[in-house]
Symmetry: C2
Subunit: 267 residues, 2 copies
């Protein structure tokens, strides 16, 4: 399996045809997996926004006040409103905004980016990253003059922190032409025993691999190709984002009162 | 960057020289990163165990009873004792045993494996995976006849589930010859703005990439090589496992009473 970045992409602007821009710079193979950073997908889709676009609701003001009081740093209620508007719900609203985006991804500040955005304050995540992946995949197939089913798979990626482990790593937000996970259940180990629950989130692993070669910052190249990945003869499924009711951690967070815990610790 | 599995390793037994076994099957380059599944590291280190080895404490009996009552499935208190003995603490003891291992890794059942173990009931994780990685790295350098500093890096990997997202992915348990993370802080985006907190957990991303080519089960190959990874000119650091006090999720879990929540829901 080979993983390499595609160099030379220009700064992407609203309305740009990403599939064409990528096709012009890389000779893609039908079984490639393209990992495309959500930043450029958002830029092409016009997801730039300004803080002035967000009129803070009472809830946003309250959230900003409480975080501000805790951190002794003024928090912009318009930013809190932007996060709320991008979220299905908040898994936590103090001391950080841990948001569940409308498409199910749990991430701080709903993944809203405050760097890397020319001529705008904010860059929102794509509204529906799987739909974005499908569009780009169709565009690539068109540019390559092959049926969509024979074209490369596409993953829209992000980098994101996580509980328990420090640091960020690449994760998948949306995907097309590949199942999110492969299912090893029912298969057997070397000793012939049936294996436990083993569902492998391959789109996340592919996104992590891509992140090793793309990098961040001004030298960053937002597209990587994974060539030669073999999904194998496994069942696939597309449930990547846990729902609240299937996630113990979200249940615990829903019942947790950070402010009360913080007070208890100080007293 | 290239990622490939090393084929043909025999079943590993206690006392086997893993470094030699790997060296004999692959022509390694000095800047390779070897990702080695913890299962074979544990096997070589004699971490096989039997349930009969664990005399259940009162706490283990209590845990097993409560989980058993909840799931209507008898839970072996000896297994609960094995998990306790491998753990610094439990982040959650109901409805699952979410353990913090002595080396800081948070995972269900302390990562104890009940499949893939010939002639034993259980396979425990390596006691100190970073020490294991260092030993294997030194062994590889010896076999390659180069100074350790010029030999390949080694990561001891596992697969593990996670909050918020379904499925398992490869993660690092221990590492040698490479920093756990690279630090992009202070660097600038394309627009010249300073980037936010961006620390990339490269050893986890390398483990995830490796897991794409190694696979599980009877066709599994427990060692993969990542060739051509460029760490770049970044600061590195080795803090991968969050401590309890730096982890909101662990704080929330510590205060959460699953049984009370479950009762409330049923009533």
């Amino acid at each position: 399996m080979e993983v390499f970045a595609i160099d030379g992409l220009p700064e992407i602007r609203p309305g740009d045809d990403l599939a064409r821009a990528i096709h012009e710079r890389a000779r893609l193979a039908p079984d490639d997996v393209l990992c495309i950073a959500s930043t450029i997908v958002s830029k092409a889709e016009g997801r730039q926004a300004d803080l002035a676009d967000f009129e803070p609701s009472d809830r946003a003001r309250d959230i900003a006040d409480r975080i501000g009081a805790l951190t002794d740093e003024e928090k912009d209620p318009r930013f809190a409103e932007a996060v709320l508007s991008e979220s299905e719900e908040l898994a936590l609203d103090l001391p950080i905004l841990l948001a569940v985006t409308r498409f199910g991804h749990v991430t701080v500040n709903a993944g809203i980016d405050r760097s890397n955005v020319p001529d705008a304050d904010l860059l929102l995540l794509p509204e529906d990253p799987t739909a974005s992946a499908e569009r780009i995949r169709a565009g690539l197939a068109r540019a390559m003059d092959v049926p969509v089913g024979d074209g490369p798979a596409v993953i829209v990626t992000d980098t994101s922190g996580r509980p328990f482990r420090q640091g960020q790593r690449g994760v998948a937000l949306g995907w097309a032409g590949i199942a999110a996970a492969r299912d090893w259940r029912g298969e057997h180990d070397r000793d012939g025993r049936e294996m436990g629950v083993t569902v492998e989130a391959v789109v996340d692993e592919l996104s992590a691999a891509a992140n090793l070669v793309t990098g961040e910052g001004d030298g960053g190249t937002p597209v990587a190709v994974v060539r030669g990945f073999d999904f194998g003869d496994h069942a696939g499924h597309d449930e990547l984002f846990r729902r609240a009711e299937g996630d113990l951690i979200r249940q615990a967070l829903a019942e947790w009162d950070y402010a009360a815990a913080d007070d208890a610790e100080e007293s």
